[in-house]
């Protein structure tokens, strides 16, 4: 650990970012169930109730639609709400508020109203959380104009992106994969921000590109390592930003490798990989030496039993296999 950095978990880093922004701007407040004294089901606000008090760290009744609608009005009136859904699945009960109100009010008011709102929640399959606590949902928020969406995979990005999200005047979904929460990593000790809208090249390579979404990033990196032994040099891009999509970084990589795999735990149809594939097949048609490949979670509701749950998520081995197939095309 260098002098100018510290090792934190994903959750600790994000919490530090939240606390810094709350110190900085008194109009930032958080709502959610169990985020008060308890500090959040996922420790997202641990210790913050004592520091900021109940009007800024606000426990709510089980009224997802209600408090999202409420935060919409609060944002319109100049506050900066952070909605902590615990499990992102609960956001669905507020979907009407999000699509018809949150996404549209800046446009309808020609920017005279802003919508500085952060929507955060845990996503993804793991730990037998079962079918109502395992969703990903991010393509919905790329399809509908008006949102920004980030899915960080490192503590550094978690902190830097959450801070930027809170300062943004747009609604930003900040999505935390349950299996990444305990990930430890270096985080600068000095204040910093990370930009929205940018993918990160996590590993450079020449033979193929993997664009990985969130939890697939460590799997893709491990897959790339394991393929290095057999002489395959894989570039790994951590997508990080779902909306907007950083097509430029992907095309630049494909220009070099000629081969593209999109690895995403989420469902394939109309997913993020579909959009990336469609863009690359249009704007990068001549760059491609092989059809774009997609690796996704099984297209079924998420089951509970470990034997079934394992069968629906793309494993590291599956990434290796998909890359082998792609390289053989």
């Amino acid at each position: 650990m260098s002098a100018a950095s510290q090792t934190l978990t994903f959750t600790e880093a994000a919490r530090e970012g939240l606390a810094e922004e709350m110190e900085r701007d008194a109009s930032v407040f958080v709502v959610g169930e169990g985020i008060g004294e308890r500090g959040g089901n996922f420790n997202t606000t641990l210790g913050l109730f004592d520091r900021f008090g109940p009007s800024r760290i606000r426990d709510t009744p089980i009224t997802e639609r209600g408090f999202v609608g409420m935060c919409t009005g609060a944002a319109m009136a100049g506050a900066r709400p952070v909605v902590d859904f615990m499990f992102l699945d609960f956001i669905l009960d507020a979907f009407g508020e999000l699509v018809n109100q949150v996404a549209k009010i800046q446009y309808m008011s020609s920017g005279r109203l802003r919508m500085p709102m952060v929507l955060r929640g845990c996503i993804g399959v793991g730990g037998s959380a079962a079918t109502h606590h395992s969703g990903n949902y991010y393509p919905f928020f790329l399809h509908q104009p008006g949102f920004k969406v980030v899915v960080p995979s490192t503590p550094r990005d978690a902190k830097g992106l959450l801070k930027t999200a809170i300062r943004s005047d747009d609604p930003v979904l900040f999505l935390e994969h349950k299996l990444l929460l305990a990930t430890r990593g270096e985080v600068p000790s000095e204040p910093y921000l990370e930009p929205l809208g940018r993918a990160r090249v996590r590993r450079t390579g020449r033979h193929a590109t993997v664009v990985a979404v969130g939890v697939m990033t460590p799997k893709a990196l491990a897959a790339a390592d394991s393929l290095a032994g057999s002489g395959h040099d894989i570039e790994v891009i951590d997508l990080v930003s779902i909306a907007p999509l950083d097509t430029a970084t992907i095309l630049e990589s494909v220009a070099k490798t000629g081969r593209l795999l999109i690895a995403d735990e989420d469902y394939q149809p109309c997913g993020v990989g579909a959009e990336i594939s469609a863009r690359v097949c249009t704007d990068g048609f001549d760059l491609l030496d092989a059809p774009v490949a997609r690796l996704n979670g099984a297209y079924v509701p998420i089951p509970y039993s470990p034997s079934l749950e394992q069968a629906v998520v793309p494993s590291q081995d599956a990434v290796v296999q998909a890359l082998r197939d792609l390289l053989a095309e």
């Binding site: 609608g69 319109m76 009136a77 109100q101 446009y107 020609s110 109203l113």
Partner: protein
Amino acid sequence: MSVAQTVHAAAVSDHPDRELHLYKEMLKIRETELQLARAYRDGHVMGACHTYVGQEAVAVGVCAHLQVEDAVFSTHRGHGHALAKGVAATEVAAELFGRATGCSGGRGGSMHLFSPEVGMMGTTGIVGPNILQAVGAGYAFQLNGEDRVAVAFFGDGAVNNGAFHEGLNLASIWDLPVVFVCENNLYATEVPFAYAAGNPEVAMRAEGYGCPGRAVDGNNVMEVDTVAEEAVARARRGDGPTLLECKTYRTRAHAEGMPEVGYRTQEEVDSWRARDPIALLRSHLVGTGRVAADEISAWEDKARTEALAAIEFAKASPWPDPRTVFDFVDSSDSAEAARRS
């Protein structure tokens, strides 16, 4: 109605010109609406157009107690609220005409009126969200330690919706400075509230949320004025929300151009027309000798002239430039551009 009478006396003594002001405000809404209805018939107003005719006393009686800084969140039937909150009739008319000079730059139309400059925070084409947004504005005001008040206007149709339930409860448990104004006009489109609600008394619902509820004659502007005064003052003091049920009636169709098919009797419509809020106050003003009938006629002429001028303004206004269609989807369009637009 004893409440109304008490109120009335109080209002007169406290604010000698109050009734006249309220009367003129109602007239403004009425005349503007009638011109908009005509413009709809003539094809100038597109989409759906829900007029406020018959309900003017509610918006006017409530908004009389609001400052520019207070925030109003309204519904599909929102022209009256916008006008009462201070949006110029020219801007409302131009919006319905789809013109660049409209309060939403032509992007919104009848159901999407935005004028945050005067605290008109928007109207919604979806039933429910505005209730929650008012709660949120109240939250922001409380957080900032400001004594501003947020008001949600909504119909009886919203009362059965989950947004009502969640919103009233949230405002109540946190003592937020919100006034919930239900305009119970007996129907949601043509579905009677008495059919749609297991208990058709709206005001008593407040008890379920631990906040006060008051039912008033929504066609009596002075009665609305009084309960609104209490409710706004309570909110401003930091004592929390109030639910007002204003019993009223829309005397035109649900939306312009819709046939009045059998869901309500002519007698019912006529009985409410006989209690028209403007006529009621007019006869009171004239009857008590406070205003001469021809003075009132002069106001009416003025209101009509202004409404016609608003229509002319709208008609003469430019269409929005299609090249602006991509602007303001997000905040990357600067605040300066926002002011310009």
